[in-house]
């Protein structure tokens, strides 16, 4: 479950309390940055969007209404607008070399056996690739639902669509992803992942 941000903490951050802002930032940065990175596959763009989203809250506190919803969907909505603007301007980019180096470093530091870690990393990589191949409208709902674990209603608010449209998009995205991963997920692999992760 995603962390719940206290209203008082938000107020403190808006009023200039660095400690409160830090708490909010470290609780939600992964979600915003992850969402932006998975959508754009660009580190610097994802960083810019993350910073802009958090600073937007501080610079325009009147735009956030705690009665209407949580802070995470609000920030996701801001990030989404910036992602769309970026996609319109630049289009999607491939992963950089730095990311590849980072993956090898993570493999070396893994606590699992190297083979298991390698298998898992390969599948993770394939999954990320397949997510990136989805249409942007399917990709965003899938990330918000599956990775950020947001409810359907919140996703509808963020994407500015109706609930049925969200359901259809998630369904299509998931079906398409399952189809793409079919060759990687033989029955034995399915069992392996079900056993190893439970």
């Amino acid at each position: 479950m995603k962390p719940q941000i206290d209203k008082q903490l938000i107020e403190k951050a808006i009023n200039g309390n660095t400690e409160a802002f830090g708490k909010i930032y470290f609780a939600l940065r992964g979600s915003i940055y992850g969402f932006a990175y998975r959508m754009l596959k660009d580190v610097s763009a994802a960083e810019n969007i993350t910073q802009d989203a958090f600073m937007f809250l501080i610079e325009n506190p009147q735009r956030f209404d705690a009665a209407k919803g949580e802070l995470l969907p609000f920030l996701c909505g801001i990030a989404r607008n910036k992602i769309i603007a970026h996609l319109r301007k630049h289009g999607t980019k491939l992963e950089t070399l730095e990311d590849e180096i980072g993956k090898f470093e993570a493999l070396e530091n893994s606590k699992d056996s190297p083979l298991n870690a390698l298998l898992h990393q390969e599948l993770t990589q394939k999954l990320e690739e397949k997510i990136a191949q989805l249409a942007p409208y399917q990709r965003e709902v899938l990330i918000l639902r599956e990775i950020e674990e947001l409810p359907y209603l919140e996703i509808a608010k963020i994407t500015e669509t109706d609930l049925n449209q969200v359901k259809i998009r998630i369904h299509r995205a998931r079906k398409r992803l399952a189809k793409k991963l079919k060759s990687y997920l033989s029955e034995s692999e399915e069992k392996y992942y079900e056993v190893s992760r439970n």
């Binding site: 200039g16 660095t18 802002f21 830090g22 930032y25 470290f26 940065r29 992964g30 940055y33 992850g34 990175y37 998975r38 994802a46 960083e47 993350t50 910073q51 958090f54 600073m55 501080i58 610079e59 599948l123 993770t124 999954l127 990320e128 997510i131 899938l142 639902r145 599956e146 990775i147 674990e149 409810p151 359907y152 359901k167 259809i168 998630i170 369904h171 998931r174 079906k175 992803l177 399952a178 991963l181 079919k182 997920l185 399915e190 992942y193 079900e194 992760r197």
Partner: protein
């Protein structure tokens, strides 16, 4: 039961009510294709959930926190107000600034006084022709006598200028050479008379016209006479 593809997804996401959930589960027990679909989607969902969190670098985290602090200090400076900002200015510059301001204010005051002593001439006929409403203060009996005299009289007139959205109040000083109130009243009366059509018989009696020509001609004549008056 028809294969409910989207309902499989709702079941996976637990966004379905209990009665529907039981129906779909019953359907999955008998439909092999739906069960396969459910399984493949369930595995995909599980894999997606296990995706590691992507986090930004520590340097970036520090830069965001720094950006927040920079913004707060800038805001504090902005909100400090003009009074504290005034004292932040070095004293010699402040003294020079104040002196310049006082000199400029005195100069402006002198110019203002000069312009008041010799107001610009405004044509009365032009002001009456304009589409503006004039509101005049009723003249005193004592001032009436002054108005008859030849000396120019200075009187304050409040004008309401019609602007599309906002009504602006303009106060000007106008010189009236003769009786201004009586003049305007007379012109208004003449205008009213010309608007109303006068019967031909009455015109004949009034002006002793023997030659009864077309009524349009007579109307024209009356308007002309009225204008001459």
């Amino acid at each position: 039961m028809k294969c409910p593809e989207t309902n499989i997804q709702l079941l996976l996401d637990n966004e379905i009510d209990l009665s529907k959930k039981q129906k779909i589960e019953a359907h999955l027990a008998v439909c092999n294709s739906c069960l396969t679909e459910f399984r493949s989607q369930a595995v995909t969902k599980k894999l997606l959930k296990q995706q590691p969190a992507i986090l930004p670098s520590n340097a970036f985290d520090n830069s965001v926190l720094q950006a927040f602090e920079d913004y707060q200090t800038a805001e504090k400076k902005h909100n400090a107000g003009w009074f504290t900002a005034l004292f932040a200015i070095p004293k010699p510059i402040l003294v020079v600034g104040v002196m310049t301001f006082l000199l400029a204010a005195g100069f402006a005051f002198q110019i203002g006084r000069l312009s008041v002593s010799s107001p610009p001439h405004i044509d009365l006929a032009k002001t009456t022709n304009e589409t503006i409403k004039t509101k005049q203060t009723t003249p005193d009996k004592t001032k009436k006598q002054d108005a008859i005299s030849e000396e120019p009289e200075i009187r304050t007139v409040t004008k309401y200028v019609k602007v599309p959205i906002v009504r602006e109040k303009v106060v000007e000083k106008i010189i009236f050479i003769n009786k201004p109130v009586q003049k305007t009243k007379r012109t208004k009366k003449i205008k009213k008379q010309t608007k109303q059509p006068i019967p031909v018989k009455n015109i004949a009696a009034q002006f002793n016209l023997r030659d009864m020509r077309s009524p349009e001609f007579l109307k024209y004549e009356i308007i002309k006479q009225g204008a001459n008056e």
